[in-house]
């Protein structure tokens, strides 16, 4: 019977551990329901907060709100899509003032939450809004324009007449727009330029942006066949492609942010990056939320191409001039990319 004693001891141990554990945690929490505390929470999609891609760039915007506006900031990483509602509700129930949700996959959950919590401002990154909800702003970007710009640049810089793109899955509309914009931009310069866009759709959602080895292998395979400009568009998978281009000594083009600063090993070949300004866009919207000028509906962020940095001297003046011309034409609407916002089904 002495074994029973062990059970009791064990249960007691567990209980004391839990009790001692519960005590200190309670007091440190900031109370977001107070009017003077401005709390901003971020919910990621199934990616990670340190993905060096859209989750991280958005989080950096939130972090800037911490330093510039004195906001209390916190994030929750989603591990399964069925938890989107639960994770948003975790912030909402703590009376956060602004909740940022990252990625198109959270679109519906964000809309539902915005309706359920009308006092909280929601920012949906990469979430296009079909109806205007006053407390929900969809931060969207014309990725096709950024892709178009770098596609045009690639087509002008290529000597072999072959350019390539290594992308994450085309099931993500932003990736699709980057890839197809790239194709359209190259065709705009010269329809004869051969554009190879490869999507990494053969693995799960959680892997498609985090497979640098595949990205590199694919890029090298392209370069072996004569491609001399590689656009890497898809988180770490794309970064692998940039590394492959650097190894083979051909031009590389980054994505999302100016990757001159995030992929140091590709600096000497990095021609430009197709940028979407996630960080400033997020900060801008948080500021508006604080000042009370929060816009409902879609909020268009900026997209563009990054400076040439180290390869500045290799880009001819006429190419630079042409790029500025295209940039202007895209901005004022006189030139359109012709890319559908979402991959047509079928």
């Amino acid at each position: 019977m002495y074994k029973k004693l062990y059970v009791i001891v064990a249960v007691l141990m567990l209980a004391t551990m839990l009790l001692s554990a519960c005590a200190p945690a309670a007091e440190e929490k900031t109370d977001c329901s107070k009017a003077e505390t401005f709390c901003v929470g971020l919910v990621t999609d199934v990616g990670k907060i340190d993905d060096k891609s859209f989750n991280q760039s958005t989080w950096e915007g939130v972090k800037q709100a911490e330093s510039e506006l004195g906001a209390v900031v916190q994030y929750i990483e989603t591990t399964d899509s069925k938890d989107y509602d639960k994770n948003i509700a975790t912030f909402a129930d703590e009376k956060y003032d602004v909740i940022v949700t990252v990625g198109f996959a959270l679109g519906e959950a964000t809309i539902a939450a915005a309706k359920a919590y009308p006092d909280i401002k929601f920012i949906g990154v990469d979430q296009s809004q079909s109806e205007v909800i006053p407390n929900l702003a969809g931060l969207v970007f014309p990725e096709d324009k950024a892709g178009f710009l770098v596609g045009a640049l690639a087509a002008q810089m290529s000597e072999t007449g072959k350019i390539g793109a290594v992308c994450g899955t085309d099931a993500v509309p932003a990736v699709w727009r980057f890839g197809e914009g790239y194709r359209a931009g190259a065709a705009y310069i010269d329809p004869a330029v051969e554009v190879n866009v490869v999507y990494h759709s053969d693995v799960g959602f959680d892997k498609t942006f985090t497979d640098p080895e595949w990205g590199k292998t694919t890029a090298i395979s392209m370069i072996d066949k004569g491609v001399d400009v590689v656009f890497g568009a898809g988180g770490k998978t794309g970064n692998g492609a940039l590394a492959g281009a650097a190894e083979k000594g051909v031009f590389a083009i980054g994505v999302d942010s100016d990757q001159y600063f995030t992929v140091p090993e590709a600096q000497k070949v990095l021609l430009s990056s197709a940028m979407k300004m996630l960080t400033p866009g997020t900060l801008e919207l948080i500021k508006m939320a604080k000042e009370g000028s929060f816009p409902g509906g879609d909020y268009l962020g900026l997209a563009g191409y990054a400076p040439y940095h180290d390869v500045e001297s290799q880009v001819p003046a006429d190419v630079k001039a042409k790029m500025e011309e295209i940039d202007k034409a895209l901005a004022d609407g006189s030139l359109e990319t012709g890319v559908a916002p979402v991959k047509p089904g079928g």
Binding site: D50, V198, H200, D202, D211, E213, T217, S221, K225
Partner: protein
Amino acid sequence: MEIRRYTFIALIIIVLIGVVVVVGKSEVSPGVIIVSMIATTIAVATPLTLGALTGVFCERAGVVNIGIEGMMLASAFFGWFGAIYMNTILKMGAFPSLIIGVIIAVITGGLLGLLHAVLSVTFKVDQIIGGTVINLLAVGISGFLNRQLFFEKGSIFGGQVPHAPGVLPRLHIPLLGDIPVVGTVFEQQPITIAAILLVIITHYVLFYTRWGLRTRAVGEHPRAADTVGINVYRMRYLNVIIGGLIAGLAGAYFTLESVPSFEPLMTNGRGFIALAAMIFGNWSPFGSWAAALVFGAASALQINLQFFRELIPPQWAFFQSSAVVGMVPYILTMLIMTGIIGKTRAPAADGIPYEK
């Protein structure tokens, strides 16, 4: 029998390359396609080959190892971390940092091998559990430390990911490397070359040395081995640790030879494919290598068919979807496995703890 199998595997690889040549020849010359396909095949096969060799060492000694995936992942992380630490904090320079990184990766693999040996040989824990523990542990530790050490609070590098020291350089092999066009195939990075050498060494050790004889003896019939004075526990311990060291090298391939970055879950199931390659190769080094190459060639086919997507004839339009082409390597493996290889035979005492 063996000859027939290898001929068949070689034929499959040739057919896979042939398909791409046929599809893409109007755009790129066949020579270029073949060289590129071979390069991709070898690159994809390297971690698989090493992982399969890990399995060969463990299982020939009678210890099932499904923890290859975790061993590779943990080694990839610690090797990468070590290299960055040496490069950024200790300022050792890129190449020495990389070498130390590889050493740390290999040691990490060895330590996990030791853990697996302690569990399965000393404590006689079900060997599937030992492997599962290692897989879970590796995912947790690498993900947790990657975040904790590199991101925000607690970061030892001030929140920014510091500059990685790059990747191991390609080696130029005299004579072979000087052949025009094909020569580039022989210009490989050190771990890739090591993988091929290790296949040959493992084959020699297993089948032509006393060590190998003893290893196989404890894997096939530990009781008999014990009777003739072979220390079963010691042989199992050492072989599992050797396997771990090789898995560590496979891990180093990911972060120090392929790409200079670490990603949570970056081994992406390749440890399990390596396991399949080992079974497929009938627990032999050359068989495993052949299986890894078939898988590599099938992956090369997948990448290249996407590249030549526009050239695929319309009646084959189904194959323009990257997800459909993505299935090809796996379906092929299954077909070959069942159609040609059929029944494979594990070492008789594989997976059974030895009781003195």
